[in-house]
C-alpha cells in the first residue's frame, strides 16, 4: 500500500443507474469516506466503458472501479472487502464468522445470481442478438428479480434472530437497496417480501443511502 499522508482522495468511476456502482457509493458513505465521483456513461458513445482509455484502467470494461492512490479495484464486492480491510471502522460486516458468512451469502446471491442476468449488456444481447421482444424481456427481468428476491426473503426469515434487522446496515443492505431500486424501476410487485421492504424502509431514511441514490448523482438524466 502506497498511502500518502492523509490518504489520497478516493476516486469512484461509476454510472448513476449502475446497481453495482450504487452499492459502492452506499458503502463509502456508511464508512464516512469522501470520494470523487467520475461518471462513465454506459450508453453514450457506444458505451464509454468500452473505450481504450477506460479499459486501460479497468480491463473488465465494467463499472464500478475504485482508485485508491496507485491501487485500482474493479468488482463492487471486491471493493467492499477492500474497504473493510483497509478502513475497518465502522465495519460493514458483523464480527462472528458465521454471521459474516450469512451476510455475504445473501449479498452474493444478489450479486451473482440476480443482478448479472438483468444488467444492460445482457438485455442488449437479448434484444439485439436474440431478437427478444420487449414483453418477453420484461418477463425475463421480472423472473430473475422475483426468483432472487424470494431467496433473499427466505434467507432473512431463516436467519431471524441471528441476523437482527435492528443491527447497523452494511454489506447486505449496500447490495439489497440498489436491487430493490431496480425491481421498482421494472415495476416488480414487492409485496411478497415483507422483510426486504422493512429493511429498505429502514435504510432509505439514512443519509448514507439517500446520498447514494441514482437520482441525486451528478450524471443522472
Amino acid at each position: 500500500m502506497n498511502q500518502t499522508v492523509g490518504s489520497p482522495t478516493l476516486k469512484l468511476y461509476g454510472y448513476w443507474r449502475s446497481s453495482a456502482a450504487y452499492r459502492v457509493r452506499i458503502a463509502l458513505n456508511l464508512k464516512g469516506m469522501a470520494f470523487e465521483n467520475l461518471p462513465v456513461h454506459l450508453v453514450k458513445d457506444g458505451g464509454q466503458q468500452h473505450s481504450a482509455d477506460y479499459k486501460a484502467l479497468n480491463p473488465q470494461g465494467l463499472v464500478p472501479l475504485l482508485v485508491d492512490g496507485d491501487v485500482r479495484i474493479s468488482q463492487s464486492l471486491a471493493i467492499l472487502e477492500y474497504l473493510e480491510e483497509v478502513f475497518p471502522l465502522p465495519s460493514l460486516l458483523p464480527d462472528d464468522p458465521a454471521d459474516r458468512a450469512r451476510v455475504r451469502s445473501l449479498a452474493l446471491h444478489i450479486a451473482c445470481d440476480l443482478h448479472p442476468l438483468n444488467n444492460l449488456r445482457v438485455l442488449q444481447y437479448l434484444s439485439g442478438t436474440l431478437g427478444v421482444d420487449d414483453a418477453a424481456k420484461q418477463q425475463w427481468i421480472q423472473h430473475w428479480i422475483s426468483t432472487g428476491l424470494a431467496g433473499v426473503e427466505q434467507g432473512l426469515a431463516a436467519f431471524d434472530g441471528k441476523l437482527s434487522l435492528g443491527r447497523r446496515p452494511g454489506y447486505l443492505e449496500a447490495c439489497l437497496i440498489p436491487q430493490v431500486y431496480n425491481a421498482r424501476r421494472f415495476a416488480c410487485d414487492l409485496n411478497a417480501y415483507p422483510r426486504i421492504l422493512q429493511m429498505t424502509e429502514q435504510c432509505e431514511s439514512l443519509e448514507a443511502f439517500s446520498k447514494a441514490a441514482p437520482e441525486v448523482q451528478p450524471d443522472a438524466q
Copy 2:
C-alpha cells in the same frame, strides 16, 4: 461458532458438474480439510435442488451448500471467505490488501459476470421459455465465456509482477479452473488466453485440483 471438540465433519452439498461446487472442493482440498460429499442432482426429479427438503437447508435452491456443525452457508465465495476466516492456514489469499483485492476482483468477474449467465437454469430459460435454438444457445455460451475470460486474461497481464504466477494457488485458481473446464466442455477456443492456460496447466498437476475434478466425483455420470 459452536464447534464441537475436534470439529464436526464438514458436509458439502454439491453436484459433480456444478462449477460453483467445484470451486469449493478445490478450496477445501487446498486447505487439506476432509469433507463429506453429498450429491444434489440438478436435473433428476425435476432438479433435487428445488425439493422442499433441500430448500429447508438452503432457501436459495442452489448448490453448493457447506454445513459446518450448525452453520449452513450457501454461495461458493461466501464459503471461501468463511473457510479463510475460520481455518486460516494455508491461506487462499495473499497478505497485502491490494493484492487480495486484485485476486477477488478477478474471481468475482468469473463468479458474477461470466458463470451465472451460462448456468443450467439460465440455459433452460433460454430454450424453454424463449425458444432459443441450440446454435444460438451455443453462441450465447461462447460469447459470455470469451468476454469474461478476455477480462481475466487482461487483468492477469495488468497485474503481472504484482500477482506472481509462481505464488501458491488459491482463491482465484479455485474459480478459474472450473471455468476453464466449462469453456472446454462448450468447445471454446482458449488460445487467446496464454496466461490462463499457463495457470491451468500449473494447477492441473496438483492433487488438490485433480481430486476436485468433476469426472472423479462419486455422482459423475
